[in-house]
């Protein structure tokens, strides 16, 4: 089968690219191992959270205007600011069609509360994380309740509260701590292996439990009008569940992302996949590309784990395999490589230059900025120095930015994935 566009990697960059291509009628497929970084993300979309000094950025697009001028190797310098905005609008619309509302604080970043009670700047969030109501609750220092599900070992409200209280925004806020539990579900408390956010999300998705949960919330929240829970109030249909709970309790419900699996991220992942499939895209999960064959300046074919000797071909290919964790980049004893095509990688050759002395060093780690080098058309260069014209790269496989220290991972994934799609759409039109 010959595709118009074959995307290797089903993360945020790959899905964005796939949806855009499919929405233009391109015969598009995504090959994915199954999981992606959304599964351990906050579920909010960061554009630019911190500057190079580690200070919080208030207005990301304003900051980026100067940043892209000074840092021409940054992916944002290639997508351009209108490109970022356009891609975000596109994805926000697609998510909205799938029932997920992402809201921003106009042109400003807003904060989301982390498990540890720190505040992180981000740009787009689900309404259980950011809305006008949240701003109102924080500013008026209303009493809040930070609750947990009894026996859930991936979240500790005491820690959230303790650090939150150190922040001036919450200094005078009265915080109530408490647990909710379901007696008929507590047998799982003994579950030796899994009692994770996803298990609790399933409880919330079970409609008959909701009245009891609402009772528990009311009981535990000590009269607070706003209640935070670890993000586990359902993956599918979470909006309706939240609405029901809010109606039953008469309280505002806020979500804090906890340890993976990230329910907030899973919602985005599911919605984007659905969107892609509805547009006619082929989502091939549980598959792995083993190697890519390059001839001159073209990718000839791919070999995958399941296809055996049968080559998989496409007019255009997009590499969105992520960085080290997901296998998009590979670290040998003393060199960094891109394992599928052997693309030219920007890195350091001496291992001791890959990392910083302390783990939470202010300067973060150089290895997070390593990755594939691309030109302005988003084409990479092969080992022999040839630009590969039918291959495009997007997301964290790219070099030139540090998604964690900049808090820019989501924005780069969406904008570069989108840009690759635009490039392919244009090329196919020209054909």
């Amino acid at each position: 089968m010959i595709y118009d566009c074959l995307i290797i990697g089903g993360g945020l960059a790959g899905l964005t690219c796939g949806i855009k291509c499919a929405s233009h009628g391109l015969h598009t497929a995504i090959i994915s191992g199954g999981m992606n970084s959304l599964h351990f993300s906050s579920g909010s979309i960061d554009i630019a959270g911190y500057n190079t000094k580690g200070e919080v950025i208030k207005k990301p697009f304003e900051y980026l205007k100067t940043m892209v001028k000074e840092n021409s190797g940054h992916p944002y310098a290639r997508t351009g600011i209108p490109g970022i905005k356009g891609s975000l609008n596109f994805i926000t619309e697609k998510l909205s069609a799938e029932g997920i509302t992402l809201s921003s604080n106009n042109d400003f970043n807003h904060f989301h509360i982390t498990t540890l009670g720190t505040l992180k700047p981000t740009y787009l969030s689900q309404e259980s994380v950011f809305s006008a109501r949240v701003t109102d609750i924080v500013n008026s220092q209303q009493k809040i309740a930070i609750l947990n599900f009894k026996g859930f070992r991936d979240y500790y409200p005491e820690q959230t509260a303790a650090n939150l209280k150190k922040n001036t925004l919450f200094k005078d806020t009265e915080i109530v701590l408490g647990d909710i539990s379901l007696p008929y579900y507590m047998n799982t408390e003994k579950n030796l292996h899994e009692f994770r956010s996803i298990d609790i999300a399933r409880i919330f998705e079970t409609e008959r439990y909701l009245p009891r949960i609402a009772e528990e919330i009311k009981k535990a929240s000590g009269g607070a009008s706003a209640v935070s829970l670890p993000a586990f109030i359902g993956v599918n249909n979470y909006k309706a569940i939240r609405k029901k709970l809010e109606d039953m309790t008469g309280k505002f419900i806020y979500e804090i992302p906890s340890l993976p699996p990230s329910i907030l991220g899973l919602r985005l992942d599911h919605a984007l996949k659905n969107s892609f499939i509805k547009l006619g895209g082929e989502y091939i999960a549980g598959e792995r590309v083993v190697s890519g064959s390059i001839k001159k300046d073209q990718v000839e074919f791919l070999t995958t784990k399941n296809s055996g000797n049968i080559p998989v071909t496409s007019k255009f290919y997009v590499l969105t395999t992520g960085s080290f964790f997901s296998g998009g980049l590979s670290a040998g004893f003393d060199s960094i490589s891109e394992p599928l095509f052997g693309l030219k990688v920007k890195s350091e050759n001496k291992r001791s230059k890959w990392y910083s002395r302390t783990f939470f060093d202010k300067k973060s780690h150089p290895f997070l900025g390593f990755g594939v080098e691309i030109d302005n058309k988003f084409n990479p260069v092969s080992e022999s120095g040839k630009t590969i014209k039918n291959l495009f790269c997007a997301g964290s496989v790219l070099s030139g930015y540090n998604p964690v220290s900049e808090a820019s991972g989501g924005g780069v994934a969406i904008s570069t994935g989108f840009k690759c799609a635009e490039r392919i759409i244009k090329e196919i039109k020209n054909d």
Binding site: Y156, E158, K166, F359, V404
Partner: protein, 572 residues
């Protein structure tokens, strides 16, 4: 300032200090053990955990070899839950001098170590990952010993017999009255100061003993030697594999718990570097290259972390009495050596002979205090090693709990399993999936085993020691620490950060392949998702300041003498 009184003050919570505390407690003396960091956090916890048969020393150092095999047999009995009787192999590689093999057999015979030559085929059947090109193989009664568990069990026993344990407490002053040392001043991590008076101060602080002696105005000189080791993920061998050649770098692979360890390098370092040791890239290459010669698939296995320790070798030149017990162990009586009463120093030796060192030290202590009590640490099992738990009772008592969970707890705590796995079902919840550490085990460790932070908790339970190096369980453990009263909630987050920084120290030297993948994921979670470095920094307390020697008033001196008599009476 708080004031405490005791019979004996022991400084240093390594295996030796812990062993002395236990020995003296069994003999009926009151002790206070002071450790500046955590139990087994220094040299004790930074070796390869080999239960020496003595074969390693059999060719050149018969006395050490004899000590080793004697202690080997004792530890198998008294510390059975800390020991794995894996057996050991000495294999000759084509690169090695074949004559050494003969010398080793003779040396073992002379030292009383049971060494048996086996066919290469048999050796490969016993240890299939072994280099198939070996020229000869010898079986010796090597084993493995967990230094953390061993020290912790000694401390637990001492504590249960009345000893007081002060960890994360630093001695910053010696109290003297004329030529008699009468106590110490110390400061804990929160800045609380304590004055402790006793009849005898025992310096068991290993390589740090030089600093401590200096506080008392005594000069001793350590020759620190750094040893680096590499841990590989997966237990690629079940038998200790030694290279049959004179001791050198990278000549041993020791299985331990769920991993294997390649040891060891040896490099002299200057004393002022002992607190800032790091494993360098060159050492990693040496260990990998040499390790690969013994077990070829070392190279294809993920390196988990690297660490180093510092051997406390005491310089003997210029001393008249020197190593007056054995060539390895140095017991210094400062009244004879320096004309200063009330203090003795124990140094040198190795983990393997910790009990013997403790025995010798306790003997001298008793002699000085005029107490006639024999050592019995070689006869009384450590807590957890009292009796083996039979498979039958294990099944009966823990029906419905996966054997991996029960087994891991049993493996780490021996018979104390029953104090951990009580009927409360929360005690079975698995918190660290790599090492199968349950909530119950964590609660037990926090409440009973002198756990002050998450690094201490790791040493007691192995939490965060597995392949993921504490990726998710570190956070869970920090939450449990504050839940079980081990710290305040905000403090627990600080301790989480410290824990991850501590893990990083061992990860950075081996940051390639899956190690880098794991590090990236961990960084994403704690920095990207949790924003840990955006916490408001607390004020750190500096407890490293050193006080000068404090002179005691004559009244206190008289009080001390009275006290001395009291002990003697009591023990009669």
């Amino acid at each position: 300032m708080n004031k405490l009184e005791t019979d004996v003050i022991i400084i240093g919570g390594g295996a030796t200090g812990a062993g002395i505390a236990r020995d003296l407690s069994i003999r009926g003396l009151k002790c206070i053990l002071i450790e500046k960091n955590d139990i087994a956090s220094g040299t004790t916890g930074r070796n390869h955990g080999l239960l020496h048969s003595g074969a390693r020393y059999a060719v050149k150092d018969h006395e050490s070899a004899r000590e080793c095999i004697r202690e080997n047999k004792i530890l198998k009995k008294i510390a059975s839950h800390c020991v794995e009787e894996t057996g050991g192999l000495f294999v000759t590689l084509p690169e090695d001098d074949p004559a050494y093999h003969r010398n080793l057999i003779e040396g073992c015979k002379y030292a009383g170590i049971e060494a048996k030559e086996i066919s290469i085929r048999k050796a490969l059947a016993m240890e299939p990952n072994l280099n198939p090109n070996i020229l000869s193989a010898l079986v010796v009664p090597d084993g493995t010993i967990d230094p953390f568990r061993l020290s912790s069990a000694n401390v637990l026993d001492a504590k249960e017999r009345g000893a007081v344990i002060l960890t994360h407490t630093r001695v910053n002053g010696i109290i003297k009255s004329g030529t008699v040392i009468t106590g110490v001043e110390c400061i804990d991590i929160k800045g609380n100061q304590t004055e402790i008076h006793g009849d005898l101060v025992i310096n068991a602080s290993g390589v740090w003993g030089q600093e401590l002696c200096a506080l008392a105005g005594i000069e001793i000189k350590m020759f620190p030697s750094k040893g680096s080791m590499l841990i590989i993920d997966y237990r690629i061998n079940n038998i200790v594999v030694n290279r049959c050649r004179p001791p050198a770098d990278g000549d041993i692979i020791v299985p331990g718990d769920t991993v294997s360890l390649i040891g060891t390098t040896s490099k002299e370092i200057s004393y002022d570097k002992i607190n800032e040791l790091t494993v360098d890239d060159e050492e990693i290459s040496v260990l990998l290259n040499d390790g690969e010669m013994l077990i070829p698939n070392v190279r294809h296995t993920r390196a988990l972390r690297a660490y180093c320790g510092v051997r406390p070798l005491l310089a003997v030149s210029g001393e008249t009495q020197g190593r007056n017990i054995s060539r390895g162990i140095a017991l210094l009586d400062h009244s004879e050596r320096d004309g200063l009463d009330g203090m003795i120093t124990i140094a040198g030796g190795k983990l393997m002979t910790y009990r013997l060192m403790a025995e010798k030290t306790a003997d001298l202590a008793c002699e000085k205090l005029g107490i006639k009590k024999e050592c019995s640490t070689h006869l009384i099992p450590l807590p957890g090693s009292e009796k083996k738990i039979s498979k039958k009772s294990r099944i009966k008592d823990f029906t419905g709990i996966p054997d991996s969970v029960v087994g891991s707890t049993l493996y780490r705590h021996g018979q104390r399993l029953h104090s951990i796995m009580t009927k409360d079902k929360k005690n079975y919840r698995v918190i660290c999936e790599c090492e199968m550490v349950t909530e119950g085990e964590i609660e037990y460790a926090i409440k009973k085993l002198e756990v002050k932070d998450l690094v201490d908790l790791r040493r007691r339970t192995r939490i965060g020691m597995g392949p993921c190096q504490g990726e998710l369980c570190a956070y869970r453990a920090s939450g449990l620490l504050q839940e079980f009263g081990g710290s305040a909630p905000d403090e627990s987050v600080e301790l989480l950060k410290d824990f991850l920084e501590e893990r990083w120290k061992g990860m950075k030297p081996v940051l390639w392949g899956d190690g880098l993948r794991e590090a990236e994921f961990t960084y994403w979670i704690y920095q990207g998702l949790f924003g840990i470095s955006h916490m408001k920094e607390p004020k750190k307390i500096d407890n490293t300041k050193i006080d000068t020697i404090k002179e005691e008033s004559p009244e206190e001196n008289i009080k001390k003498e009275k006290n001395n008599k009291k002990i003697k009476r009591k023990l009669k």
